[in-house]
Symmetry: C2
Subunit: 399 residues, 2 copies
C-alpha cells in the first residue's frame, strides 16, 4: 500500500512555504504587504462579470472538450490580431488554466525519464508538472549579473542528451521579468531545429511588456512552426486567475490530436470560466493596455527604490510583474521568515517568495527573493521602504 | 521530435465516436434523442445560480489549492450527515471535477507499469487516466447475465500480481447502473486487506439509488479506513457538470499530503464553480431527492419498454442513470451508427453509446449499448418506441 515513487519528487510550493508564518503574523495584528504571489489586485473587468451574469445557462453543462467553439474562435482572432499568426481552429484547445495546458503538454511529449531543458530560476510548478509525468528537468542557470539573459548556445548544447525532448522558456519570464529578444529566440529556434527538439514557450505574460518593448511570439517563426507549442491563459492578462481558463496553441496536428484525447478524458474545461472569458475577449484593447501601464508604474517605483538600497542587486525587468533581486543577507528564506516572525515597522511588514524554490541548483538562489509588483504604486513604495528598514535592522543584528 | 509512447494508449472517447454522424443527421433535419452521454437535462438549481450571481467577487482570484475552506467545511458536514462518516477537514480536497480527482489519485498511487483492477464494463475515461500515468488497467468482466454483479473473490485473486496497487469500482456504476451490496463491498474490503492494496471508489452517483435501496460508502468501513479513497463530484447530483467541481476524500494523511502537493502545482480549482457549489450545498435535501425521483421514473419507463422488446437483455439498474443492454444485433456500434445515418421513424432517431468502448475485452460489449436515461419520461418512452421500430427494421434488413 505504497504511494508512487514520483511523490518524493513533488515539491511543496515555494510560494506557500511561509504562509503559516504569515497567518500567525496576521493573527498578531501585523499588516502584511503580500508581494509573494502573482495574484494581481486589479479588479476583473466589470463588463465581463456582467456578461457572465447575463449568460449563465439554465443547465450548466459540459462544454466541448476543446472548449466552446465560440471561445476558440475569439482566441483565433486574438492571435491573428495581436500575435500576428494565422492558425486553424484546431490549433487552439482551451484548458483549465495554463496549469492544465502544461500538464497536457508534458504528458503528451514526455515519457518517464525524458528530459526537458529549462532556464532557471524557473516557475516552480514546471518542476511539479515534470514530476507528475516522471520526467527530468535539466536546469540551465541564467545569471542575475546578466539580468537573467538567455544562456549561450554552448551551454544549452552541453545539456542535450539522447533523452532530451524539449526546451522550454517562459517569455516574459516568471520569476525574473526578463523579456527575451528576437535574437535570443532565434538562437533557441536554431538549437531545436539542429537537435530535433520541441520548443515550449509559456507566454501567459505576453501583454506585460514595458518601455515600449514588443513581445515576440515563437509562433511567428515559420521554420519551427511544427515543433512549437505555446502556453497561454486569461488569468494574468485580465486579472481573472480564478477563472482557470488557459490555452494550448500549436500548429502540429499530431500533437493537438493527442492533447484532444487527453482533454476528452477530463471531459471539459470549466463552463462558467469560459463564459466569463467570452466577455473578457470582447473587451476593447485599451483595458489590457491600461492594466499594463499600471504595472509599468509599479515596476518603476519598485526598481527605483530597490536600486537605492545598499548591497541589493536589482536588474530592471522588461516584462511580466515580477523581479528577482539579490539581497545582502546570507539566507533569503531565513530573512523572509524573519520579516514575518520577528520584524515589523510601525506594525507592518512585507512578504516575498524566497527564490531558492525557483532553482534546481538552489545555491544560486540562496540570497535572492522574487518580488511580485502586484500592489498599487504607493503600496509598493511603502513596502520597499519597509524592506530597506528591515535590511538595516537585519544587518545590525548579524554577528 | 516524437510524442510520448503513452499517446498510443490514449483512447478516443467512445461516447464521441459517433458525434460526426449525429451532426450530419441533425443537418439533414433529423431529430435525435441523445441517450449517449451523461449530461442531465434538468436545470441547475436556480437558487444556487442566484447565489453565484450575488457572490462574484471584484477580483476573481485563485482559491486555496485544496479548495475554499468554507466549501470544504460544507462537504465535511455533508459527509457527516449523508454518508455517516466523521472526517477531518484535511481529508477533503476540492478538484476540477471528478476527472482531476481521478488523475491526482492515479498519479499519486501508480508508477509506470503498476496495475489497477477494475470491473468492466467501466467508465471509459478510467482507461484514459491510466494511460496518462502509464499504468495498466486489468479488467475483470462483470456479466450481463448476472445483472453486472461483482465478480467472485477468486476471479479477483487470479488477477493480482506484484504490480497490483489498487482495486477500483464505480458505485453506483457507470455504465451499468449496478448498485453494489454491502456484502460485495465487504468482499472487496477483505481482498484489499489481504493483499495490501488501495481501494478507490468513484461515488459520484451516490445519491442516485432506486426502489428504496440505500447506497453504502466504503468510507464507513473502519477496518480499511486508511486504504480507502473516494472520488466525488457535484456534477451529476445537482445537474452542474460544467461547474467542474469534484472531490478527493481519504483519511490517509500521507496520501492527502501528496494530493495537496499536486493540487498546489496546478494552483486552484475553478473559483466560479466553487462559489456555485457553495450555493448548491446549502440547498435543502429535497432538491436532490426530487431529482432522483424523476430519474427513477425515467428508469422505470425505459426498462419496462426495453424488457418488452424481443431479443433484448435489459437488467434493471438500481442506481446512477445508465443501463447497459444487449441488443439482438451482431455489432452494436454498426447498429448505433446506422440509427444516425440510415434510419429514421417519423423524422426522428436515437443515439446510444456503443458499449465496446467500456470494455477492454471488447468482444463482451460487441452487442451492447449504454443508454443514459437523461430525458423526461415521455421522451424516454418515445425514444424506446423508436428503438423498437429500428430493431424490427434492422432485423428484416439482415441477410
Amino acid at each position: 500500500m505504497k504511494l508512487s515513487s514520483k511523490v518524493d519528487k513533488l515539491p511543496y510550493s515555494p510560494i506557500r512555504k511561509l504562509v503559516p508564518f504569515a497567518e500567525q503574523a496576521e493573527k498578531s495584528g501585523k499588516k502584511i504587504y503580500y508581494l509573494n504571489i502573482g495574484q494581481p489586485d486589479l479588479p476583473t473587468p466589470e463588463p465581463a462579470i456582467q456578461f457572465l451574469k447575463d449568460n449563465i445557462p439554465e443547465v450548466i453543462a459540459y462544454s466541448h472538450s476543446a472548449g466552446m467553439e465560440e471561445l476558440r474562435k475569439h482566441f483565433q482572432r486574438y492571435y491573428q490580431r495581436e500575435v500576428g499568426v494565422d492558425l486553424p481552429l484546431s490549433a487552439f484547445l482551451v484548458t483549465t488554466g495554463a496549469s492544465e495546458a502544461l500538464i497536457f503538454t508534458f504528458s503528451v511529449l514526455l515519457n518517464s525519464g525524458d528530459e526537458v531543458i529549462i532556464p532557471e530560476p524557473m516557475y516552480a510548478n514546471y518542476i511539479g508538472f515534470s514530476a507528475v509525468v516522471d520526467a527530468v528537468v535539466k536546469p540551465i542557470t541564467s545569471r542575475i549579473e546578466n539580468g537573467f539573459a538567455l544562456p549561450s548556445v554552448d551551454e544549452f548544447e552541453k545539456l542535450i542528451t539522447a533523452r532530451t525532448k524539449a526546451i522550454m522558456i517562459c517569455n516574459p519570464n516568471n520569476p525574473t521579468g526578463y523579456l527575451y529578444s528576437e535574437e535570443e529566440l532565434r538562437q533557441l529556434a536554431e538549437i531545436v531545429k539542429k537537435h530535433d527538439l520541441w520548443l515550449i514557450v509559456d507566454e501567459v505574460y505576453r501583454e506585460f511588456t514595458f518601455d515600449g518593448r514588443k513581445h515576440i511570439s515563437v509562433l511567428t517563426f515559420d521554420d519551427i512552426r511544427d515543433r512549437t507549442i505555446v502556453i497561454d491563459s486569461v488569468s494574468k492578462r485580465y486579472s481573472a486567475c480564478g477563472a482557470r481558463i488557459g490555452l494550448v496553441v500549436s500548429a502540429n496536428e499530431q500533437f493537438m490530436d493527442a492533447v484532444l484525447r487527453m482533454a476528452q478524458a477530463r471531459l471539459s474545461p470549466p463552463t462558467l470560466g469560459q463564459i466569463l472569458s467570452l466577455g473578457l475577449l470582447q473587451l476593447p484593447d485599451d483595458v489590457i493596455k491600461s492594466m499594463v501601464k499600471q504595472y509599468e508604474q509599479r515596476r518603476n517605483v519598485t526598481i527605483a527604490e530597490l536600486q537605492k538600497m545598499e548591497g541589493v542587486i536589482a536588474p530592471t525587468p522588461s516584462g511580466a510583474f515580477y523581479t528577482v533581486v539579490e539581497l545582502p543577507v546570507d539566507d533569503a528564506e531565513e530573512f523572509s521568515k524573519w520579516l514575518l516572525t520577528d520584524f515589523d515597522y510601525e506594525g507592518e511588514t512585507v512578504m516575498f517568495a524566497p527564490a531558492g524554490g525557483f532553482y534546481i541548483n538552489r545555491e544560486y538562489g540562496k540570497r535572492q527573493v522574487r518580488i511580485a509588483f502586484v500592489l498599487e504604486t504607493d503600496k509598493m513604495q511603502r513596502a520597499m521602504h519597509i524592506l530597506s528598514v528591515a535590511l538595516e535592522k537585519y544587518r545590525v543584528m548579524q554577528p
